[in-house]
């Protein structure tokens, strides 16, 4: 049927916002707050949701996902916290060095790929470093509904403990902080052992931490469905490569510091996307032929799909003689 067919857009719906506050939190992390330019309310969201921020970096469009870390019921202001990555491709540096109060930007409607399991009798959060951000909104949501939660938060040093003071002040009995430089570590086995049935665990942090928590929980007999994780992979720079696009009948070059998805967009080839971090599956693309090696960085494809069937252009790259994809 087609009553009024409209083609779905790539990415979630956009909201025009202006930067209402820029708050440096420590040497690496700065909070940015946004309000709608039209004065209307922002949509309510669920704890763990993210937004994709569009940056206009001297004509080059950057789209980076960040967890929303404000109270989900606060529809006047959204907040994100951005960790500066000096080795990255420049999105976080742009946010830190170029974005000022009053700037107009575009962000997407909230998208949640890391939501609370509302059936859980208890929620145990494990955060590493900047991985604290989704838990800030989850905690705000649970506090309103009298939810049962606790947080275990590993940070490098006291000076880099983003939001540690605020969290400890508000929730002294629920927040546990571990400092790497004081050789403190999360007593994971002990924590996983003592939880009531129906507890769900959530982890956001570096890949090693996520793998560690999944493996330890599995070994302790936790059902996999009760251990949730979110890892957005920022696209990594890599050697330039050439790609043949069979549907569009084009051959394009992917530069050193851009992703394959960004190269497609630069060439006007539309590809669907949501998270731009290898997690949501929207930009999944069929490989038609190849002669070389893939550098897969996604958390979406099955191993057999990664063996030459499919590629996630948002984070994955290619090294070799030729690659043809179905775009």
């Amino acid at each position: 049927m087609s009553a009024a067919p409209q083609k779905a857009k790539a990415g979630a719906e956009q909201i025009n916002v202006k930067v209402s506050a820029v708050v440096p939190l420590n040497d690496l992390v700065t909070r940015f707050e946004f309000q709608r330019t039209d004065g209307q309310r922002l949509p309510t969201f669920s704890g763990g949701a993210h937004t994709v921020v569009t940056m206009n970096d001297d004509g080059r469009t950057r789209l980076n996902p960040y967890s929303l870390m404000s109270d989900p019921t606060d529809t006047s202001t959204y907040a994100i916290s951005v960790r500066r990555d000096d080795q990255g491709r420049g999105g976080s540096l742009f946010m830190h060095t170029r974005v000022k109060v009053g700037d107009e930007m575009q962000i997407t409607y909230p998208v949640n790929l890391f939501s609370l399991d509302l059936r859980a009798k208890k929620h145990v959060f494990f955060a590493g470093g900047i991985g604290i951000t989704p838990f800030m909104s989850m905690i705000a949501q649970l506090e309103r509904s009298n939810g049962n939660w606790e947080l275990h938060y590993a940070v490098r040093t006291e000076a880099l403990g983003t939001y540690v003071d605020e969290l400890r002040y508000k929730f002294p009995n629920k927040v546990h902080v571990y400092y790497d430089d004081q050789s403190q570590s999360i007593p994971l086995e002990e924590l996983l052992d003592g939880q009531p049935l129906g507890t769900n665990a959530y982890v956001c942090g570096p890949k090693g931490m996520i793998d560690w928590i999944h493996a330890t929980a599995a070994a302790a007999g936790w059902p996999d469905a009760q251990v949730h994780s979110e890892e957005f992979t920022a696209p990594q720079p890599g050697k330039p490569f050439e790609v043949r696009l069979c549907k569009s009948d084009k051959t394009i070059q992917v530069g050193e510091s851009e992703s394959l998805l960004e190269a497609l967009e630069r060439e006007g080839v539309e590809a669907p996307f949501l998270c731009r971090g290898g997690a949501c599956g929207q930009c999944e693309t069929d490989v038609v032929s190849y002669d070389g090696e893939f550098i897969h960085r996604d958390h979406w494809l099955e191993p057999e799909q990664q063996a030459g069937q499919k590629i996630m252009p948002c984070v994955s790259r290619f090294v070799g003689a030729s690659l043809e994809i179905d775009r």
């Binding site: 669920s46 939501s115 059936r119």
Partner: protein, 357 residues
Amino acid sequence: MTIQFNDETFRDDYSFHNSDWAIKRFPFPFHEDSYMYAVNMEQHRGGPEGSVYEKRFDVDEHYVAEMRDRAMVLADDPLRCQSLPHMTLAGWDLLELIMVSKSEDYPDLFELHHDADQWRWVNKPLGIDDTFTFLDETTLPYGPMEYITRQTQGDFCVLDQREENLWMDAGMVTTQADWSLDFDLGMNFFEWHAPVPLAHEMGIFKRALKFLLNIQQGAPARRMNWTMTVNPLLDTSPENYHKWGIQKTTLTPENIGSKQHLRVELQTFFRLPRSNALVFPIRCYLCSFQDLMTMPKWGRRLHRVVRDLPVELATYKGFIDNRPMMLDYLSQFDDGLPTSPGVFPEPETEPPLNKAG
């Protein structure tokens, strides 16, 4: 426009009827002269003025009578409305979505007033004026999902999203095409679709699930489904099959035009903000064959679709036994002329029936 609500029934004497306005805007589901499954999703962002696609939650002349019928079904069988404990937040999300949409889309019929968490809801057609505290269940006469869906046409499935799947964990289901919420409650997407023939093999459900999991806030979607119903019954549930199933044998060549109805579901999908659940409203529209035949394009097309439908589908949709009688009736309205593409009836441009008798 102000809607004139019909005084009518969907049971016993079946006084249900469509006005000329309702026939013209009936969501005829076939965009070409044949039918096969398709995911056929599109964005739910309005549609032509006056069409059933225009508003987020369409209100039509059957509203008051449909709500009366729903109350009767619930009085007989309270299990038609169920919500597992973790779905209460999604119920509030749905209440907000419907109240905001209806008060914006039909300001002459519905009003919503906020004062922080104190909400006042005015539903003029049903004579309701209630004040309650948002997110406080004790201030409403029913749970939030039940409260608002007793005032909204269509069935509602509220689906929890987890483990890359959707789960039928809450719903209000009184106008269904032969499926049971009480049976499906707690099932996942593949489990509750298990009885559907052909579509699994075609990979339809895998593709549909992938699409649904990615429906985002601010970007609702819709699709159509259809079946056949003898007599204008809203409640064609398995629970009451003993009451309505037998009515399929009462069809005769004389009464088929008025008794046989095409039943169309406008299915929409909205991501709910606080719970991250997905709500799946299934709105049922009924139109008798004789009313459909007033549109020459629909007459020609319906004959061709029913004639060429695979046996499995006619069986699943429950009209395989009556198909020969339907075709005898419908063939009178098919003169073999081509039809224009699209679902709309185009009465001004489509040629009149060129056939004697």
